[in-house]
């Protein structure tokens, strides 16, 4: 009995093995997917974003987020935009501009004759005037804050930089040409009317109870005459009327959301936003190539698998790890990976107020010397971006074209970034430190990367005569501006590509100058830089600035974060853009093979 069964089993298994040698069952001879595919979704490109867009008007303090920008790159037009190289490039589709005078700084803008909102209303003077009114902070609401005594503005703009320095734009309703006149020179004038700044004034006026007759004459009147009563409802709509519901369950009435770009908003469900080609788009350069673009909300950690599964075609994870890249490359040829340097950089700010640990410049230099910057790059940057380097400048990131030129001129800033323990010891001795210098190094408690970086600093600097005490804080950013809450703090800044945006980080008493750094020479240089209107002169001034900042060891700059994007290999035209414009900067030109 037993034998018999064993024989049967053996026979069965041999049979199975023999069968297996003969190949396999099933499989599809012809591809069934292709025929039906074209009718619905094959003309669609899906883009992953880690947070749902929050509003149509991305210029308010509440809605000024990267992800709103990702959408408005496609649904709005401006006079210029940042390219992949991080430089401003004029957008001839929308119009032209030129500097006509240096004193006072005057820029002449001309909007393209054919430029219209997707509801057919021309883009003209009233739109620009509303933008100016909203972004210049010149419309006091009459309400004062009981604590600060400051009067709030009708418009809750994300920033009034630039427009606050200009006079009201003169013109008549319906004008397509106008001049922007500055009260004082402004270095970043060219970046002023870019991106999604221009919103449809006729919608705001209508919703604010004003007539839209005569190319928005009523609104123009109200702004020009500072008619607070008439402007208040308009401003209220501008502030919140264009907001989406949280997590984007649906879009508001599409009639309120006209587009000035190659795509227009179509619908939204559960955090998924759909754009379709704007049939009223007049331009040729930026005309959309794919019918539909869909934004899907997916948290960064889940994005790789979503891309691998084809749920999305493009991902742009915001803080990629070494594993992100390896995981993407492991997927194989169906996915294309691109890496580069982002404008976000990590650095350690030092508390140098009188009496603080880093008051003495020698101690700061010692800390800079013992920080293993090159090691950090080896561990956290080059595994993602092989071309990543130590960052030596503060105002330029290695990815930018001027980085090398400026670095060549700023001798004090140069260096390979490897830890110099002996040098640090010597500097500390010169500073008269005989005991280990205790440094409380604060960082974001939730970030393992930051914890790892602090571990590297501690490993190295403890040998040089420091005693690094890691200080993880959940509420680290609130503690930034509390003197004495930390001795050193490790965090990141996002570079903007603008000339003067870093001013408040470095000048005496600057709002983001958390370490209490003060240097008259630096203050002077910044005043000069901020009022320089000739972009060509900036590198020379900044070279001087970088030299001074390095000599006085403002802080310890570490590296520019590596950036990674990945997309389906069926997609063509995707190019990384390290600026805040982001991956969708040229999405109108993308095509996807079915």
């Amino acid at each position: 009995m037993r034998n018999k069964r064993a024989t049967t089993l053996a026979a069965l298994s041999i049979g199975a093995l023999m069968l297996s040698a003969c190949g396999s069952a099933g499989g599809t001879a012809e591809s069934p997917a292709s025929e039906g595919a074209t009718e619905n979704l094959a003309t669609t490109i899906n883009i992953a974003i880690s947070q749902a867009p929050t509003g149509y008007n991305g210029n308010t303090a509440a809605t000024n987020s990267v992800y709103n920008g990702y959408v408005s790159n496609l649904t709005t037009s401006g006079f210029a935009a940042f390219t992949a190289a991080g430089e401003l490039e004029a957008n001839p589709d929308f119009g032209t501009y030129e500097k006509v005078s240096d004193d006072p700084l005057t820029i002449k803008y001309t909007i393209d004759e054919d430029a219209v909102w997707s509801d057919g209303v021309p883009i003209d003077y009233d739109d620009l005037l509303l933008t100016w009114a909203a972004m210049s902070g010149t419309n006091p609401s009459g309400v004062t804050d009981p604590e600060t005594g400051a009067e709030s503005d009708l418009f809750k703009a994300s920033s009034t930089n630039g427009f606050a320095q200009t006079k009201m734009i003169e013109g008549e309703p319906g004008d397509k040409e106008f001049e922007l006149v500055f009260n004082e020179p402004y270095a970043d004038w060219e970046a002023l009317l870019t991106g999604d700044l221009i919103v449809p004034a006729h919608i705001a006026a209508e919703q604010g109870g004003l007539s839209t007759e005569g190319d928005g004459a009523a609104l123009v009147d109200a702004i020009q005459n500072k008619d607070v009563a008439a402007l208040t409802p308009v401003a209220e709509f501008w502030n919140t009327g264009w907001d989406y519901e949280a997590d984007l369950p649906t879009l508001p009435d599409l009639a309120l959301l006209p587009s000035s770009g190659p795509y227009k908003l179509d619908n939204a469900t559960n955090g998924t936003l759909t754009l379709v080609k704007n049939d009223k788009y007049w331009g040729e350069e930026r005309a959309g190539k794919t019918d539909t673009i869909v934004f899907k909300t997916i948290v960064d950690e889940e994005a790789v698998q979503a891309l691998q599964n084809g749920d999305v075609d493009v991902i742009d994870p915001s803080s990629p790890s070494v594993d992100t890249k390896a995981a993407l490359e492991q997927i194989g040829e169906t996915v294309t990976v691109d890496t580069g340097t982002s404008l976000t950089f990590s650095h350690i700010d030092l508390d140098q107020r009188p009496g603080a640990v880093f008051e003495d410049v020698k101690v700061r230099q010692a800390f800079n010397a013992c920080t293993p910057r090159a090691d950090m790059v080896d561990k956290f940057v080059t595994p993602i971006d092989p071309e990543g380097t130590v960052m030596n400048l503060r105002e330029y990131q290695p990815g930018q074209p001027d980085y090398e030129t400026v670095l060549d001129g700023a001798e004090a800033a140069q260096g390979d970034g490897s830890a110099d323990i002996e040098g640090a010891k010597k500097l500390l001795a010169e500073a008269g430190k005989t005991e280990p210098v205790k440094v409380s190094l604060m960082y974001a408690a939730t970030s393992q990367l930051r914890a790892d970086m602090v571990a590297l600093v501690k490993d190295s600097c403890d040998k040089a005569g420091f005693e690094i005490v890691p200080q993880p804080e959940a509420e680290w950013s609130a503690k930034l501006s509390q003197p004495g809450a930390w001795d050193a703090v490790l965090f990141g800044w996002a570079g903007s590509g603008l000339v003067a945006s870093g001013q408040s980080i470095y000048v005496t008493g600057g709002e983001q100058n958390f370490g209490g750094y003060t240097d008259p020479e630096v203050d002077r240089l910044w005043t000069e830089i901020a009022t320089t209107t000739d972009a060509d002169k900036v590198p020379a001034l900044k070279t001087e600035l970088e030299q001074r900042l390095a000599e006085t060891q403002y802080n310890v700059v570490l590296y520019a974060n590596a950036d990674i994007i990945a997309h389906s290999s069926k997609l063509e035209g995707v190019e990384m853009n390290p600026t805040q414009t982001g991956i969708t900067w040229n999405a109108y030109s993308w095509t996807k093979q079915a």
Binding site: A16, G36, T250, N270, K296, G310, S504
Partner: protein
């Protein structure tokens, strides 16, 4: 009864009130609502702080702030009053619309997961109880403990890799080598042998039959391209209908009464005719048509089975209706399967998504849209189900064993009732009593589990509202989430108590 409900409602209301207080203060003390603004500067920062302060009433001390929130909730309870918003989130947007939107997808997920876990868990639990201390019992015990011990997101990550990415790749070109087919057959054989049990000879028989049948079926499905164009087909439906009839008869009546079996088969025939007749109606129907068709078929089957059933009219009629509804379900499944090829094509040939709760811009038939929902549900449901499944099997097993040790079961056996009657009529029913409470708890628990699942699978549901709310120290969305979860917990508890009283005559509600 009424007194009981009234009393419980009042108590529940106050419990809920106290729980909201606790939750509210925990939420607002969990961090700094301006945390994200530390690095920013300029008027933007001041404006955001001002806007947020206004939206979240941060200028009001915590206790009155809680009452302000309570007042907002109160507006929703009083009909016709001031508009109901459930307060504002930190951007100043009303919370209620967000909640309404989030609830839909979350409830879909939670209900499906609970129902699946319940059915699977109860069936497996009962089988393990009947076959106590068998290899099967031990295997299930081990498996359920293992599932119970898995971190949910860990499991989800693995599911995405193997159940979506790899399965999709396979589905694009479904084929197995003969070795794989043979192996699957062997595995199926082992599983069946373990489940059915018996002496060595019987196990071997079961193993052989199951292994060959599985391998053969798989082979046939593969060579006929079933995986690219799934569906039951006419013949499949006929066989399925007959099978359903036999199954229900076996379970509910046994085969001793031939007339009942005949009635069941008649009901199956009626359902099958219903299927044939409804083919044109079901091209692109809506839920109303589907439901109406099921009801009509059930009524006809009820009548026909009653007539055929003769002396056992009542029993036969009921079984007939059950069969009709079951076949109705099969038809729905069949239709969904038939929609698969076109939907799969629309999804770019990768039908099982790893993220989201539905496809954007899907224009398709009723079946395609619902299949799309179902495909999006697959992964999160499996993740949630597997974990509840463990609880249900363990409790059902315990409960069933407890019942089977009772004297009345012994009496029933002594009376000479068939094993089927003992198990189904006496044991099962009583074993289900404690499960009702379990369900009440599990439902609220699964809602809590959705917090993790939604995050992993990119669903914009209530769980996400909660997580974001906690992140932003924003009590509005957190409390909205809690209102639903807490109310569900309280309500289900009450319902369970009432169900208890209905199922167990020893308990009176007073």
């Amino acid at each position: 009864m009424f007194y009981f409900i009234a009393k419980r409602s009042v108590i529940s209301f106050f419990i809920m009130l106290a729980a909201t207080t606790l939750m509210y203060f925990l939420t607002i003390s969990s961090g700094d609502p301006f945390e994200d603004l530390g690095e920013t500067n300029g008027p933007e920062k001041a404006a955001t702080i001002a806007a947020r302060t206004e939206a979240m009433n941060l200028d009001v001390p915590p206790i009155p702030r809680y009452f302000l929130w309570l007042q907002d909730v109160g507006h929703c309870l009083v009909p016709g009053g001031i508009s109901c918003t459930l307060g504002q989130d930190r951007t100043g947007a009303a919370v209620l619309p967000q909640l309404e939107n989030a609830m839909g997808s979350t409830l879909r997920l939670v209900v499906v997961a609970t129902v699946l876990a319940l059915i699977l868990g109860v069936v497996v639990g009962i089988v393990t109880a009947i076959r106590q201390y068998s290899v099967f019992d031990y295997s299930v015990t081990f498996l359920s403990f293992l599932l119970f011990s898995l971190p949910l997101f860990w499991l989800s990550t693995l599911l995405k890799q193997y159940m979506a990415i790899d399965l999709n790749t396979w589905l694009a070109n479904p084929q197995f080598s003969y070795l794989t087919i043979a192996l699957i057959g062997v595995i199926a054989g082992v599983v069946w042998a373990v489940v059915v049990g018996g002496d060595r000879r019987r196990r071997l028989m079961v193993f052989g039959v199951a292994a060959v049948a599985t391998a053969l079926a798989l082979y046939l499905l593969l060579v006929t391209g079933w995986f690219t164009k799934p569906g039951f087909g006419l013949l499949g439906m006929l066989v399925s209908a007959a099978g359903v009839a036999v199954l229900w008869t076996a379970l509910l009546a046994g085969f001793r009464r031939r007339r009942v079996l005949h009635a069941a088969l008649a009901a199956a025939a009626v359902s099958f005719i219903g299927y044939l007749v409804s083919i044109p109606l079901l091209e692109n129907p809506n839920w109303f048509i589907v439901l109406a068709l099921v009801v009509v078929t059930a009524v006809v089957a009820y009548l026909v089975a009653g007539v055929v059933g003769g002396p056992f009219r009542a029993q036969a009629a009921k079984i007939g209706a059950v069969i009709a509804v079951s076949v109705g379900l099969l038809i729905v499944v069949d239709r969904l399967l038939q929609a698969y090829p076109t939907l799969s094509a629309k999804a770019g040939g990768r039908p099982i998504p790893t993220t989201g709760s539905q496809s954007a811009n899907l224009a398709g038939t009723f079946w395609e849209i619902n299949l799309d929902f179902a495909l999006h549900l697959i992964l999160p449901t499996i993740a949630l189900t597997l974990i509840s499944f463990a609880t249900y099997t363990r409790y059902t097993r315990a409960s069933q064993l407890d019942v089977m040790n009772q004297d009345y079961i012994r009496t029933a056996r002594a009376k000479g009732l068939s094993e089927r009657t003992v198990l189904v009529k006496h044991a099962f029913r009583n074993a289900m009593i404690p499960i009702t409470t379990l369900m009440a708890f599990d439902f609220a628990g699964v809602l809590g589990g959705a917090v993790i699942t939604e995050q992993v699978f990119g669903w914009n549901g209530m769980g996400k509202m909660f997580v974001d709310g906690i992140d932003h120290v924003d009590p509005g969305p957190v409390m909205a989430f809690f209102l639903v979860v807490g109310t569900a917990a309280v309500l289900f508890n009450m319902l369970a108590d009432i169900a208890y009283a209905f199922l167990d005559p020893r308990i009176t509600l007073s």
